[in-house]
Symmetry: C2
Subunit: 213 residues, 2 copies
């Protein structure tokens, strides 16, 4: 049994969907509508007191925090590997992932944006500028790394954890209208990844809980 | 050769100092004064184009992003282990680390606080409230996990990656005067860790570049 609690537009949930698809692991999806704060329902809080998605329920227990879930997925289903063999290469792929996972995404998730709106009085234009600022900084850091280490994908010629993190962030950048022309290598790598069925099936628009309105 | 580029008060550098000390790995420290934007000097940018600390130079290359560096340290110097054996337990320790590394620290680092001051016009009181908000949320998520999984330390009876992340965040919470009484288990675990020589030697105040003023 593998049950992924997520939300179609949560980019951290999107990462886990991609990884499970790449590993060929079947999982049941449970949607929690973040716009309605469904992740704060008592039933869900009993399972995940932090009230965040994603959470993965498996026979080995309940797992939270997408970086931890993704390392667990890699250790539990080693084939195909999403981290390269050499330790230095693994560190580079994990660094690429962390640029998204630590330097970009945490600044742009819904609870932070809500705090900027409500506590700092930011209007939507200011919020969008905030979002763009951190995406541009992160993608600007990734672009030379992809130039140096990338092949068909962000690192080498097969998809890695780097792509698992980058593709959802590109989706988010598109959603918020961030200009991506300064990052041609990143965009090419993301396009190559999105063309794979595992990534396409994980796309927010392809989820049963997607709401295009 | 192992050379750690950091800054005494950078909590991400502090994490790496702790881990190297726990592994008994000797390293040379190079300080970049973040208050003077020394991490944006051309000489450093040539090594680390993102202009962030920490960076670890080793014979296997140059590594960036503390979560990636820490996984590299764990893979390269497996003894003593900073992750437990079981996959589910490893996922829990990594989740505890990610609560700090993704949900707290990225919102409170210097470049984000500068952005809140300059772009959003926050005064120091508002900045302090922002800092406290995310620390309290993250520690509030950790407290029941430590209650469930902790022993002498945050997870079990030996120090793990969880302590490597939590102790620097507690240092930061103290620095910004965040009230920690709602988190007795977390505080006890952090105190136990700080009593170890490896943690004490990594403390910001013990660094040669420390500036108590």
């Amino acid at each position: 049994m593998m049950r992924l609690h997520g939300y179609w537009r949560s980019t951290a949930s999107y990462r886990v969907r991609i990884a499970l698809n790449l590993k060929g692991v079947a999982d049941e999806h449970v949607s929690h509508d973040l716009r309605l704060a469904a992740q704060r329902d008592p039933d869900y809080l009993a399972l995940q007191p932090q009230g965040l998605v994603p959470m993965l329920e498996s026979s080995e227990g309940t797992m939270i925090q997408s970086p931890a879930i993704l390392e667990w997925v890699e250790e539990t289903f080693p084939d195909p590997p999403l981290l390269p063999e050499g330790r230095g290469d693994r560190a580079m792929v994990r660094a690429m992932a962390a640029i998204i996972g630590c330097d970009v995404h945490p600044l742009n998730n819904l609870r932070v944006l809500n705090s900027l709106r409500h506590d700092c009085g930011m209007d939507q234009a200011a919020v969008n500028a905030w979002i763009a600022r951190w995406i541009v900084a992160g993608f600007g850091a990734l672009e030379p790394l992809i130039q140096q280490h990338g092949g068909a994908f962000a690192f080498g010629d097969s998809p890695t954890m780097a792509d698992v993190y980058i593709v959802p962030q590109v989706y988010s950048a598109e959603r918020f209208g961030v200009g991506l022309s300064p990052f041609p290598r990143l965009i090419a790598a993301a396009a190559a990844a999105r063309a794979l069925p595992a990534f396409a099936a994980a796309d927010p628009a392809a989820q049963p809980d997607a709401d295009p309105s």
